[in-house]
């Protein structure tokens, strides 16, 4: 059978094994948390670590000297992410607490974690119902998935040095991974260093607020937990009411770091190594900054002139600081696909939710940890549309599309159109399937729920805009079939669709 396959399955699987085994090291973190919190659920993580390592190492035996090529890269990346989510779900099942003990829910939660979606099926997010170790693991999955597990592996494992560039391309395709240094491993390390730098900085600042007496409940545990999910644009929180649980000053501190997470980390590397102006020279950064600023201002005005009031927040309408804080925080968090909530935005007025729905389609920058269509693609699309208008008047004009002064080749432009169109098609297919599935079981789900569930999983955003999918609700009430669809969407959404979809084509497997 292997004879007519054109993909070296053995080599690919062997590499997946190596990566999976390496990932088992991550379980050390929840083990340490368990040890420092009375040993609760300690065995769960020890058992998972052993199971993951054993599976990975045995898969690795398939081919002692794997030499995967460009084609195998897609398979390696897609399967590594799938296995990471499968094994990452084990602790939830083994711990046996609440809704996520159920395997499909556990798988959903784990995929939502690694893909930094932040959609949850948990009914009771509280340290009273779950151990410190389990909730910290949930946060950690997002941190690992944020910059990408392949990028991490390339940074750390020496054997990934050669094929690493291809794998990284498959993990973060979009228009190009720029090599910062001649060695791909050093590039991967540079990206991770910038990522670690901001994570640590954020944890220190959050904890400092508690020490200074500005945030009573921002304990060291909470500071680390939120540090793990802010920079990867994750959105999980061990607090049931997400960021609403914290004081306004803490909420304000989140804003700059949410913004940072949506920017290309290659740019942050330049900034950290002494070239701060590289940020403003980048057209994508300027558009991201502009989009977040304009959307925030519009949302602020809409909230200010609305009669928004919830028991937790008090009167928002007519209150400048509150309107500004809720608007800026939610826009920043939704635009780059984080999905934190500092209030129940399901209570927002129709127009205000409309702005959020728009923000969901924007996405982060290329090379950031954010999901969605990505700013760069919109920028290219805007530029080509402008060109289209121009060539309507001047049919003979030849106008290459330029990005940061460089010419984009037309093939890249076509790729961007194909991606964006596919993204939108998948979004509508998702809406239709979710609605049909709910109708099949006679469930009453609102249109806003299915719309936002589709985009929130495909774009790795997390919470949606309806009653069920809203920030204070959960995805638990969706039928199992819908959950599988959403797991698929999170998976392909994180890997930017093509690397997973290409595995489903005949051409991929044959010559």
């Amino acid at each position: 059978m292997y004879g007519y396959l054109r993909v070296d399955v053995r080599a690919g699987l062997s590499l997946v094994g190596t990566l999976t085994a390496a990932l088992s090291v991550a379980y050390v973190v929840p083990i340490v948390v368990a040890l420092t919190h009375g040993g609760e659920d300690l065995w769960v993580f020890v058992a998972t670590l052993v199971a993951t390592a054993a599976f990975g190492l045995s898969l690795r035996q398939l081919d002692p000297h794997p030499d995967p090529g460009a084609r195998e890269a897609f398979m390696v990346v897609a399967l590594t992410w799938l296995f990471a989510a499968v094994f990452g779900a084990l602790p939830y099942v083994l711990a046996g607490d609440g809704a996520i003990a159920q395997p499909v829910n556990a798988f959903f939660e784990s995929m939502s974690g690694f893909t930094t979606t932040g959609a949850t099926v948990m009914d009771n997010i509280s340290l009273d119902h779950h151990s410190h170790a389990v909730l910290m693991w949930r946060q950690l999955t997002q941190w690992l998935g944020g910059m990408g597990i392949i990028v991490l592996a390339v940074a750390i494992l020496s054997e990934m040095a050669v094929g690493g560039a291809q794998l990284m391309r498959a993990e973060t395709p979009g228009p190009g991974v720029s090599k910062l240094t001649p060695h791909i491993a050093r590039t991967a390390r540079a990206l991770w260093l910038a990522y670690v730098f901001f994570t640590v900085l954020f944890i220190v600042l959050l904890y400092a607020l508690q020490v200074l007496g500005f945030a009573e409940n921002m304990t060291l545990y909470n500071a680390i937990a939120h540090g793990f999910t802010t920079l990867p644009t994750g959105g999980f929180s061990p607090e049931a009411r997400s960021i609403e649980a914290f004081t306004p000053i803490v909420q304000w501190l989140f804003v700059p770091f949410l913004f940072i997470a949506g920017v290309n980390f290659v740019l942050w590397w330049y900034v950290l190594t002494g070239d701060p102006w590289s940020l403003l020279r980048d057209a994508e950064f300027r558009l991201y900054l502009g989009a977040v600023t304009v959307l925030s201002l519009v949302a602020t005005l809409v909230l200010f002139f609305s009669a928004l009031e919830t028991p937790e927040t008090g009167m928002v309408g007519g209150h400048i600081e509150r309107s500004l804080r809720y608007a800026v925080f939610q826009i920043t968090s939704i635009t780059n696909s984080t999905g934190y909530a500092n209030m129940d935005f399901d209570a927002w007025s129709g127009p205000a939710k409309g702005i959020l729905l728009f923000a969901m389609f924007v996405g982060g920058s290329t090379g950031s940890t954010g999901g969605g269509v990505k700013i760069l693609r919109w920028l290219v699309i805007l530029k080509t549309l402008r060109r289209e208008l121009f060539t309507t008047v001047h049919p003979e004009a030849v106008r290459p599309v330029r990005m940061n002064g460089r010419v984009l080749n037309e093939e890249a432009v076509r790729g961007i159109y194909a991606f964006t169109l596919l993204y939108i098609v998948l979004f509508f297919v998702g809406v239709a399937l979710l609605a049909a599935d709910a109708a099949r079981l006679g469930l009453d789900v609102s249109l806003l729920d299915v719309l936002s569930a589709s985009i929130a999983t495909l774009g790795n955003i997390g919470p949606g805009l309806g009653e069920v999918t809203g920030p204070m609700g959960g995805y638990g009430s969706f039928p199992t079939t819908s959950k599988f669809l959403m797991i698929l969407y999170m998976w392909i959404g994180r890997l930017e669709i093509f690397p997973v979809l290409v595995l489903l084509t005949k051409a991929y497997w044959r010559s």
Binding site: V398, R399, P400
Partner: protein, 441 residues
């Protein structure tokens, strides 16, 4: 010694044949044979990059080696090879600007003592000339301090029908000569300027610009609407010059691939992929509103057609790049406003090295009927120590002192001006008496 008997090589050989021992090396035996009979030069068949050929040509004895084959790489290698055998001054002609930039970064690189970029020179000439209304030729001297320009006088020009004395209303402008049909007149106060004359003036850039506006009867507002036909190397480099100076630029190229490349190279140019002889297209894109149209296609005939057609639809001024010198006069007769010849531009640049060491710059006029040269005056010169009015009596007819630059300042020569050693003088000279004059200066 000249390697490469192409268009440029031959022009230079022709230019140098009197007064120098010229050896021409070329690979093509037919051309070599032809040259031997046509010009008074010694020609050798062989590959100029090979040491054996160079030795046959006695490169060790040569004072100067000029490499001007059609290949940039060959020219550079010829210079490099020469340097291993002799101390001759090496000149390489290149087309690509990148090679020139490398060389400029470290002079003497590749064993090249002087590098001439033909296309860049042509592009710069196009830019200089189109920058002045009604100008046919423009050149700069003394590091930009002095300018020389040749204008064509149209019937409705303000100076038509005036004498030089009447027309000379500028502080720092010297009227050098008037070309009337095939005749050359050295300008005196009484010389009449007539419709159809070409007049040569030398002076400060400002006064030249003012004079140009008066001649053409236009106000130059700086930014122009320029159309370049043909994305050739010359076309692209000229476009760069125009882009740098903020002109509104359009380029027409028929070949889709070349059009695309040009559009990628020139971010501020609107590139149109079409045939420049398609009148419907020219009308649709309002090419007729252009101030200047430059025809820079690969063939002289196509350039003529494009320029004439542009004239027909109403473009104010047309410039055509012409490789074949013989066509130049003909093209101007049928209505092309300015003809620019890459060979002449290159020759101007190279020939100065073959002159006395003090010659700083050479500009050829009317296909080398006359020259404007910049020369550093030595202590033994006829000019020094007495007023110019006296000094010119000692010089033959056909010489006009156009401008003097002293220590970075421009001095307009008057009868009483005294030239000092070390001054740079810009002089108009009849080509026939050139050698004689240079010896006197």
């Amino acid at each position: 010694m000249i390697v490469g008997a192409g268009a440029v090589g031959r022009t230079i050989a022709e230019n140098l044949a009197d007064g120098h021992d010229v050896i021409v090396v070329d690979q093509d035996e037919d051309i070599v044979e032809e040259l031997t009979y046509e010009h008074d030069v010694l020609s050798i068949a062989g590959d100029g990059t090979e040491l054996g050929t160079l030795r046959d040509a006695e490169v060790g004895e040569a004072d100067m080696v000029i490499a001007c084959t059609d290949s940039d790489e060959t020219n550079v290698v010829v210079c490099g090879a020469t340097k291993t055998e002799s101390d001759a001054f090496t000149i390489a002609r290149v087309r690509r600007r990148t090679l020139l930039e490398t060389w400029q970064g470290s002079e003497g690189a590749f064993g090249v003592d002087f590098m001439v970029c033909t296309d860049l020179l042509t592009a710069q000439a196009i830019f200089r000339i189109t920058g002045l209304p009604a100008a046919r030729d423009v050149d700069m001297f003394a590091g930009g301090l002095v300018r020389m320009a040749e204008f064509e006088i149209s019937p409705d020009s303000a100076v038509a029908g005036q004498t030089v004395q009447e027309a000379d209303r500028y502080d720092s402008l010297t009227f050098a000569a008037v070309f009337r049909d095939d005749e050359m007149l050295v300008a005196t106060g009484k010389t009449m300027i007539r419709d159809g004359d070409r007049i040569v003036v030398i002076g400060s850039p400002e006064s030249i610009t003012q004079f140009a506006n008066e001649v053409a009867g236009t106000i130059d507002n700086g930014s122009k609407d320029v159309v370049i036909v043909g994305a050739s190397e010359i076309g692209i480099q000229a476009a760069r010059e125009f882009e740098e100076h903020g002109h509104r630029l359009r380029m027409i190229e028929r070949d889709p691939e070349r059009a695309r490349e040009a559009a990628e190279d020139l971010p501020n140019t609107m590139v149109l992929q079409s045939d420049a002889t398609d009148t419907d297209f020219l009308k649709r894109e309002h090419i007729d509103e252009a101030d200047v149209l430059v025809a820079a296609l690969d063939s002289d005939e196509k350039n003529l057609l494009a320029a004439l057609l542009a004239h027909r639809v109403g473009v104010e001024r047309t410039v055509a790049v012409i490789e074949n010198v013989e066509y130049a006069a003909l093209f101007e007769t049928v209505g092309v406003d300015v003809v620019i010849n890459p060979r002449e531009e290159t020759a101007e640049e190279i020939v100065r090295f073959t002159r006395a060491a003090r010659t700083e710059k050479v500009a050829m006029l009317e296909h080398d009927r006359a020259e404007v040269i910049e020369i550093e005056v030595g202590p033994g010169s006829t000019l020094t120590g007495k007023p110019i009015a006296e000094a010119t009596n000692d010089l033959p007819d056909g010489v006009v002192i156009g401008a003097i630059s002293r220590g970075g300042d421009l001095i307009t020569p008057r009868g009483t001006t005294i030239v000092k050693p070390g001054d740079h003088v810009v002089v108009f000279v009849d080509a026939g008496i050139l050698d004689e004059v240079i010896d006197l200066l």
